[in-house]
Symmetry: C2
Subunit: 238 residues, 2 copies
């Protein structure tokens, strides 16, 4: 079977209201849309992941097509460009690929870490009841023994640090419509995925009502037939 | 006169010991070397810049070749790719260009701003005596009335924040030899230029002796015949 001709199947993460919230799954949903690839999606709760893959994978996204089955969003993104060479590339060349990885390293360290601490309790409360004990245990380990409630305490006071950390994006987006320049690239999907993660669960809008990121977020959520639009999403702006 | 066939002249910034320290001039020195372009260099002190250009430019780098004369390192870098199409490109395409600009926005906000506060007094003390009053006045305006000495006070306590802010580079350089991937690109030159700025003046090494950035810094300073090597430079590692 020629894997390039089969329709990929994407395993994602589902929460109690049916939304998909993993920021890493969102990256791949956008990547598939960017490449013009249709896919089947299979939604799993946190505690179904290891069982579904017989322990081979513990996180989603997982993608399956033809004989290939792999996890880790970066491995998947790179694989998609190799497996579907006739489709629009995610990375036009090795320098763009390296630069997007650097952007991811910055965004993960400076933005997503702050988002995790602000929204970890909201995520807990939004996921399926049967997944909450697992989520609490694994995330409180990551919090080095602090509870989810302790991580969320006084979170309003930590909003300014998140907003400040987004300043480089605002500066960039004053020059370009997308992080990738004139057209969106995988850096946009990384950042949009993080905001979609927050929008899926948030009980505290992360951004001021007049944040200049709004135009880019609207543009990004509208991409590919409104891939990021869903009435169940929460407001990102005060 | 065909500007593409003339040898560019680069106006840079000189300090008391003859070193060039502007991080923006360093970007262009690397950019010219990357493109394999020889250039004449003219070194100016801070207070000579406006006079030399009749007030047209107040900062360096300034580049002159043929009929073209322009300032601002980004304008110059983009211009070099247009003016010398037969030479290795700084930007292989629009996405790499946009991604490097985003990296610059991050690096300027999170790294160079911290370096400025740590080293502004060292810069003052290293530049030519006749430039110091001008430097103090313009930089203290930027410091909103604080003195250079106040900005430098307790600076050791701010080293950990600088080192932490470099974590995305360390993560990236555990995967790639350069920020640009397998080969250096303009993102490397931006970051190397900042470290060369510090190395020109520092009386406090910014990095721990075992910082994993060392291999990349060594590789970067060695590029193009050791462009970043000079015995007058100060140690970057404790």
């Amino acid at each position: 079977m020629n894997s390039a001709q089969s329709k990929p199947r994407l395993y994602g993460l589902v929460i109690d209201n049916g939304l998909s919230i993993s920021p890493y799954v969102w990256r791949i949903r956008y990547a598939l849309a960017h490449k013009g690839l249709l896919c089947e999606t299979v939604s799993l709760g946190f505690t179904e992941i290891a069982r579904t893959f017989g322990g081979r994978f513990k996180t989603v996204p997982v993608i399956e097509h033809g004989d290939a089955m792999l996890a880790e969003s970066w491995d998947i993104a790179e694989h998609l460009d190799q497996a579907f060479p006739g489709h629009p590339p995610l990375f036009a060349g090795p320098a763009e690929h390296a630069m997007v990885r650097l952007t991811d390293a910055w965004f993960s360290a400076e933005i997503m870490r702050k988002m995790f601490l602000l929204y970890v309790l909201d995520i807990h409360n939004a996921i399926r009841p049967e997944d909450r004990a697992y989520f609490r245990r694994t995330r409180e380990e990551r919090l080095k023994g602090r509870t989810l409630e302790q991580a969320a305490a006084d979170r309003e006071s930590r909003l300014p640090a998140l907003r400040d950390a987004l300043a480089p994006m605002r500066a960039h987006l004053s020059r370009f419509p997308y992080l990738g320049g004139a057209a969106p690239n995988y850096a946009d999907y990384i950042a949009l995925g993080a905001f979609l993660w927050v929008a899926g669960v948030s009980t505290l809008p992360p951004l001021a009502h007049d944040d200049t990121l709004r135009a880019w977020i609207d543009r990004g959520f509208d991409l590919y037939g409104g891939l990021g639009r869903d009435p169940r999403m929460h407001a990102l702006f005060e």
